[in-house]
């Protein structure tokens, strides 16, 4: 909620702005303190001030309230981030995108904001300079839930430029909500890369002493410098303790918890590596290694692809309507990859219209198998492409990317079934 008209007028007439020291008389009480931004959930008539003790309080004003300016806020010089550029350590490029890992408390709005520049972020983790030289660029600064195809495209281009410039690795601080989508998009768009691209997030914002951002950033830098691995990875806290971070393949990773530090998990495969928060490195499975290839990003994507989560009683008509405006569909079916009999019919019609349909499983764990039951066999006959053990989100990104390359149905089918970026695993171990 924003200010009421009354509060707005009182503030305007006092000429006080946020950060100024004010004297506020209301309801028989008088308070002196720093004018704070209005809290989103505060009453519209409430003005928030910070008392000398450090406490914020909300003061409800009425028509008799008085607000006067006591002292203008002094401009606080912003401390510039200093970045180490000399020496012979390898260079790592940091590309900022916003999100919890790159956030600070904005006392003008009282909220955590993803606006910290990569320079500032790096300057708050001085240990980084013991590992590498740094350069940084803000590609954009948004909450990750606002990310879209254009953002992936411009990020892929920016990453490719850095890689082609010969850096030892690219670290992309990113909001965690859609981290897995971006990592999959970059995996497909970038193809073979000479050096690692590591997306890192934080589940606790970097304004907090308990933030996981420091450990994740340091581990990402250590991974780039200390190993030969060269793929698109997601690196996040491995368990609730501050002990190690897991390195996940960009196409096999998913946020599995709303708030825990170890929310990110590799699905249907083990993490690629583990980086101890003390600096020790452990490889867990094979991956592509560093090379001298030049990157030519293939960023074209078909945006009109839908991802639908099937549920009992899901309306075939609804899906039919949705598919009118779409070029392809990924369905997260039940169990081995099933939908209702009526839905099979809709999917058949969709395929017949030249719109590819890929079946994945809402179980997430395990591989789709359309040979076992009648429904599965019907789906295969309807031309639905089994998505193997791909995550539904990865299948979505892949289908968008594949449709950006070809529209020929048999070509789409072949590409979807082929493991291009480690998104499909042949074997799943106990």
């Amino acid at each position: 909620m924003s200010y009421s008209e009354r509060a707005r007028q009182l503030l305007a007439s006092s000429k006080a702005s946020e950060g100024d020291t004010v004297r506020l008389k209301a309801g028989g009480k008088e308070h002196v303190g720093i004018l704070m931004p209005h809290h989103e959930f505060s009453h519209p008539d409430v003005i928030v001030i910070k008392l000398k003790s450090g406490y914020n309080i909300g003061v409800r004003i009425d028509e008799r309230s008085e607000l006067s300016l006591e002292l203008k806020a002094q401009d606080r010089p912003v401390r510039p981030g200093t970045i180490e550029t000399s020496g012979d350590k390898p260079i790592i490029s940091f590309l900022g995108t916003g999100g919890t890992i790159a956030s600070y408390v904005d006392y003008r709005t009282g909220a955590v904001h993803p606006a910290l520049k990569a320079e500032e972020l790096v300057a708050t983790v001085p240990e980084l300079s013991e590992i590498c030289r740094m350069r940084s660029k803000v590609v954009f600064s948004i909450f990750s839930e606002n990310m879209d195809v254009e953002h992936w495209q411009s990020l892929a281009v920016a990453v490719a430029e850095e890689l082609n410039d010969g850096v030892e690795g690219v670290i992309v601080p990113h909001g965690t909500d859609t981290l897995g989508f971006t990592s999959a998009a970059l995996s497909f768009m970038l193809g073979d890369i000479p050096r690692p691209v590591v997306l890192v997030g934080a589940q606790r914002s970097s304004d907090r002493p308990s933030s996981d951002s420091y450990g994740n950033l340091l581990s990402a830098a250590r991974l780039c410098v200390g190993t030969d691995a060269a793929e698109v990875f997601v690196l996040m806290h491995g368990e609730t303790s501050d002990s190690y971070a897991n390195v996940h393949r960009g196409t096999k990773v998913r946020k599995m918890h709303t708030s825990r530090r170890d929310a990110f998990q590799s699905v249907n495969t083990s993490p690629v590596a583990r980086v101890g928060l003390q600096g020790d490195l452990e490889t867990l499975s094979e991956c592509k290694i560093k090379s001298r290839v030049k990157v030519t990003p293939e960023v074209r994507m078909e945006k009109d692809v839908a991802l639908l989560h099937f549920y009992p009683g899901m309306s075939p008509d609804m899906v039919k309507k949705i598919m009118q405006g779409q070029r392809g569909l990924v369905m997260a079916g039940t169990g081995l990859g099933h939908v209702s009999r009526e839905m099979v019919q809709v999917l058949k019609e969709t395929v017949a219209q030249g719109k590819p349909v890929v079946m994945t499983s809402q179980c997430l764990g395990g591989r789709v198998n359309l040979n076992v039951y009648d429904t599965g066999r019907d789906l295969l006959s309807a031309g639905v492409i089994p998505g193997e053990d791909m995550l539904p989100e990865t299948a979505l990104i892949k289908l968008m990317w594949v449709l950006g390359r070809t529209e020929r149905p048999e070509q789409v089918g072949l590409m979807m079934l082929k493991d291009l970026r480690g998104e499909i695993s042949e074997r799943r171990e106990l």
């Binding site: 809290h39 914020n56 912003v78 002493p209 825990r260």
Partner: protein, 619 residues
């Protein structure tokens, strides 16, 4: 001018759910799941890092957490955002604010107060200012109440080993009401009275926890020319006057040291330490030998013109002890200083060698520290920095209370800059209507309660007031449900308790439930009231009532059995009884009670003795 100025902060745990989740708020024995974390200092909202936070960061602590089931969840583990503030806890804070006549904020905002000693997994404590400007009447004087806050308690420290601290999360998040008084007190005993009175107001809400550790006091003490020093977390009300007196003495001696140093025209000492391991290679001092043999070093710093301030001959000036506490906060066992040397295996010759090395004369002092180099160096520098503060006077600091009534340095006094908004918790709008309803339904105030206890239970005013003030009133009412128990109960709480405590009985071991059980056994005639203190002594050790009765041989006695014992006494003293006749009852009472105490009631025993003497004389 007042000789001392004291304000207190009282922290009372509430008996509700935790403040920001639905966990039970109780302490448990289980360790639960173990995990570990590190914390880092961060910039505050205003872009500054707080000095207290930095002091903690220098220690680079590593924290282990125990997360027992039922009393901790993802919120305590800092793995889930806090839920909305507990309604019952908020209501209690508003009630207490109203009882203290304080002005409640229109909208209550939770803040994050940075604390990186590990006691909060998040690295901050959530706290909100609920009300300001109240007052407390005490013996006709008005003591100002500056603020009433609602906050979450910190995790419980269960172990410190080397540089690793272990906390249990059961206590983290228990709601606390914090009441801060104005610095309106000038007498150590008055401080205790204020604390007691605030305690009884809090208890009157019936929403607070009882027992040791559920209420903790911070004492802010200063003297003229001294400084505000906070003694944080005193749990024993009885020790409050002692803490105050000792702190006043400490500050006075520091002021004296300052004057002395000024007279001598002493100047700040360079913050530097010199490695003198070579000079003390063959030292027979155990501390130095141990340090050197594990590859450590001995560092020394000269302190020109400080002689006699580290420890004066009469023991009053003790700057050395202050310096040692600063050094210990950097992880060493302590320091040696020249006022106490030669001693501890350091010889007069070695002292001379050091004095010569630094070219010191008799007015000069030195301090040394032996340990691993990465500890001894910084520790000695901290001690030297503390010595320099003596030139300015009393440093503002936070101190930990010790059970002997003294305190030790813990960290610098925190500044105000370490708070920023807790954006995960919604502010609470306090409607006027809610406050009106609270005002109309306030719990019984201590005065009203004093009057009611007198009226209902027939005890005198002094007893009643003391029961309420010392917090025995609830239990008193419980055990006096059988009104004939009231007099015994009052005497027990007001006389037997202090006597038992003086004997060294750990009264904290005495649970309310076991006291209730003792009274119901008494009321059922299972033993005589004289035996109650003895029973309580056993209960404090953790015994059950029935067990205590049988261990003490207190099974209530049949009259016949008692008569036999009395008859035996009379027979042994037959000549005396015959000579004195019925006048022998008085002198024999003591002898009889020695045998009968606790087994039958005293009055009953006297009646029985009189009857048996009469009978004896007749035969």
């Amino acid at each position: 001018m007042h000789q001392m100025t004291i304000g207190i902060e009282i922290h009372q745990q509430l008996d509700t759910h935790k403040l920001f989740c639905s966990c039970r708020s109780s302490l448990v024995e289980e360790e639960g799941t173990i995990f570990h974390r590190r914390l880092r200092p961060t910039q505050s909202e205003m872009g500054e890092i707080d000095r207290a936070v930095l002091a903690q960061a220098e220690r680079r602590m590593h924290f282990v957490y125990q997360a027992p089931k039922g009393v901790s969840c993802l919120v305590e583990a800092d793995e889930e955002p806090p839920h909305d503030a507990d309604v019952e806890a908020t209501q209690t804070a508003l009630t207490v604010s109203t009882m203290l006549g304080a002005k409640v904020m229109d909208e209550v905002h939770f803040m994050r107060k940075i604390v990186i000693d590990g006691s909060n997994t998040s690295g901050f404590q959530r706290t909100a200012l609920v009300a300001v400007d109240g007052s407390l009447d005490l013996n006709g004087r008005s003591i100002g109440i500056l603020s009433i806050c609602l906050e979450e308690d910190a995790a419980r420290k269960v172990e410190t080993k080397d540089r690793q601290v272990t906390y249990r999360l059961d206590r983290l998040g228990i709601p606390l009401i914090e009441i801060a008084t104005a610095p309106d007190m000038h007498d150590p005993d008055e401080v205790k009275e204020v604390a007691q009175r605030l305690g009884s107001i809090l208890r009157s809400t019936r929403k607070v926890k009882r027992g040791l550790g559920t209420i903790r006091e911070d004492l802010n003490i200063s003297i003229p020319d001294g400084a505000r020093v906070e003694i944080k977390g005193a749990q024993d009300l009885g020790l409050i006057p002692t803490y105050v007196r000792n702190e006043v003495e400490r500050q006075r001696s520091l002021v004296e040291i300052k004057c002395l140093l000024q007279e001598r025209k002493a100047t700040p000492v360079p913050i530097a330490a010199k490695d003198i391991s070579g000079l003390l290679q063959g030292s027979r001092s155990k501390v130095i030998h141990t340090a050197l043999s594990k590859g450590g070093k001995v560092f020394c710093a000269a302190l020109p013109l400080f002689a006699g301030t580290m420890r004066s001959a009469d023991g009053r000036l003790r700057l050395g002890a202050e310096m040692a506490q600063y050094a210990r906060s950097r992880g060493v066992a302590g320091i040696f200083h020249s006022d106490e040397l030669p001693a501890y295996g350091i010889t007069a010759e070695e002292v001379q060698v050091i004095r010569k090395e630094f070219e010191l004369n008799e007015m000069d002092a030195f301090a040394l520290c032996a340990d691993l180099a990465d500890r001894a160096g910084p520790a000695l520098l901290a001690a030297v920095a503390r010595a320099n503060q003596a030139l300015v006077g009393v440093p503002e600091e936070t101190r930990d209370p010790l059970p002997d009534g003294t305190s030790v340095y813990s960290r610098p006094l925190p500044g105000a800059g370490r708070m920023y908004p807790e954006t995960d918790v919604r502010p609470i709008l306090i409607e006027t209507e809610r406050l009106r309803q609270i005002g109309e339904n306030l719990p019984e105030l201590p005065e009203a309660r004093t009057a009611r206890l007198m009226r209902v239970y027939g005890i005198n005013e002094q007893q009643s007031r003391q029961l309420v003030r010392e917090g025995h009133d609830d239990l008193f009412e419980e055990v006096s449900k059988d009104h004939s128990m009231a007099a015994v109960a009052a005497r027990t709480f007001l006389s037997s308790y202090p006597e038992l405590q003086k004997e060294g009985v750990e009264l904290n071991g005495l649970s309310d439930d076991s006291v209730k059980a003792a009274f119901s056994a008494l009321s059922a005639g299972k033993f005589a009231k004289e035996a109650l203190p003895a029973i309580l002594r056993e209960l404090a050790k953790g015994q059950e009532v029935d067990h205590a009765i049988s261990v003490l041989g207190l099974g209530a006695m049949e009259q016949g059995e008692a008569a036999q014992i009395i008859d035996a006494i009379l027979n042994e003293r037959a000549d005396f009884v015959r000579e004195k006749g019925s006048a022998s009852v008085g002198p024999l009472m003591g002898v009889a009670m020695k045998e009968l105490r606790g087994k039958i009631d005293g009055k009953e025993a006297a009646d029985l003795l009189r009857k048996r003497v009469e009978l004896f004389l007749k035969t």
